[in-house]
Amino acid sequence: MEQQQLIPHLFRSEYRKIVAVLCHHFGIDHIQAAEDIASETFHTALDTWSYKGIPGNPKGWLYTVAKNKAANYLKRNKIFSNKVAPALQQFPISVNEEDIDLSDKNISDSQLQMLFTVCHPSISSEAQVGLALRILCGFGIEEIADAFLTNKETINKRLFRAKEKLRAERIEIKFPGKEEIANRLDAVLTTIYLLFNEGYYSESNNQVVRKDFCLEAMRLAYLLIENEQTNTPRVNALLSLMCFYSSRFEARVGKQGEMVLYEAQDENLWNNELIAEGSYFLKQASIGNELSKYHLEAAIAYWHTVKADTKEKWENILQLYNRLLQVEYSPVAALNRTYALSKTNGKQEAIREAEKLNLSSNHFYFTLLGELYKGIDNVKAKNNFQHAFELAKTQTDKQVIQKQIDGL
């Protein structure tokens, strides 16, 4: 019998589909059961396929097994809720054992509804990101723990508490109402943005998982874009910015896994396809008058895809940062704005501005000052880089700074 090749990440992508559909079918009280059924389905596949070979239609096989397991669960639960639960005051599952709908349409509807459920304001944003990674993206506890630089127990506890909270608050798995959608969508976008940043800036050395986090964040944004009600300029701006950022994925990691700073990147390694997609979604984002922080960040990211160091480029970047900081302050934006200012208005002015920032506990602040003093006062440059080195927490950051000191 011919051995079939499984498509990469099949289990992960099927896991999240099955979980979403089952959660939707069972209700919020049974997230754990949905996860268990999906996991058991893969264990059954492992036990069967390992010996008998991969079936012709692996997806269909998985769905059939998942449906059977779900039906058994419902049957058990019915017996339990009819005969045992009345005494225990448990929440029964009211649905029938009707066919569980694993059609493409229901899968994407269920995932979208789960996305809104997971990003419910009643749970912390940290827990939202964790739940999204687990339930919507299908990452394992170990992979999530690795990205957050923590252990499995911590993640398990965090997810458990979040699920309990959703249960206790009786959050319904459904699409928010028309009036509510704009507000709730903002929370969803924040979570997707955090998820992306978790991958892009994670201190974990696991490059593969980090990149997958970013791709998953983009997939979730795309899910929103595919739905008419959630296809807003803001969502398009967010996806655009993620495309631009990811286009530099290959270029920002060196052969030894070290960080390669933007200035030193080989632009031949930039992914032109992602840059083109970023431009497309930025154009879609520009329909209407809305100018969100995602728009501004996407526009900044766009200008970074232009490698040539022109005055026009940096003037645009500076003005976009000026606007961004008015919309939402962040230390990173303040530091980047000052760097752009050095490119347009000169290093002396940028040094004066940097000193007003009041960010002296941030190692990037001293890296910036080191960079600004370079060529003006190399002793000061070195002192600042050394200060940054002492404040930097990760090996990667320290390596990058050491390189700067050596280069002086």
Binding site: L318, Q319, Y321, R323, A334, L357
Partner: protein
């Protein structure tokens, strides 16, 4: 931290400047506001259009203005966060509005609804 409003007062709102000059002022204004925002001290602000303005008088008559008999016109405002009126005044020094001779910036503390004021 308290909030302070910086009110830009122009001596002559009708003064004509070259497009090049206006463009330079615009960049300087944006950089100045960006600098305040980069210190996390920006609360808000807006320009006030000079064209098509009206003044309503005590006797309820309405005139085109505020030019003519009134010497000063207001050009806009920025609200900043600062620890003292001195700090707010120091920030105002960076505004390109002050490049115009006779122009001034009035710095006033915003009243909080805290029962003290």
């Amino acid at each position: 931290m308290d909030e302070f409003i910086l009110i830009f007062r122009h001596e002559d709102g009708k003064k004509v400047a070259s497009p090049e000059q206006i463009q330079l002022w615009m960049k300087q204004t944006m950089d100045w506001i960006g600098s305040i925002a980069a210190q996390n001290k920006f609360s808000g602000g807006n320009g006030l259009a000079f064209e098509n303005a009206k003044v309503v008088h005590h006797n309820k008559t309405i005139t085109n203005g505020p030019f003519g008999d009134i010497k000063e016109t207001l050009g806009g405002y920025v609200i900043v966060k600062a620890n003292s009126i001195e700090e707010a005044a120091e920030m105002a020094k960076g505004s390109p509005v002050l490049q115009g001779e006779g122009n001034t910036i009035e710095v006033r503390k915003l009243v909080k609804g805290d029962g003290v004021h």
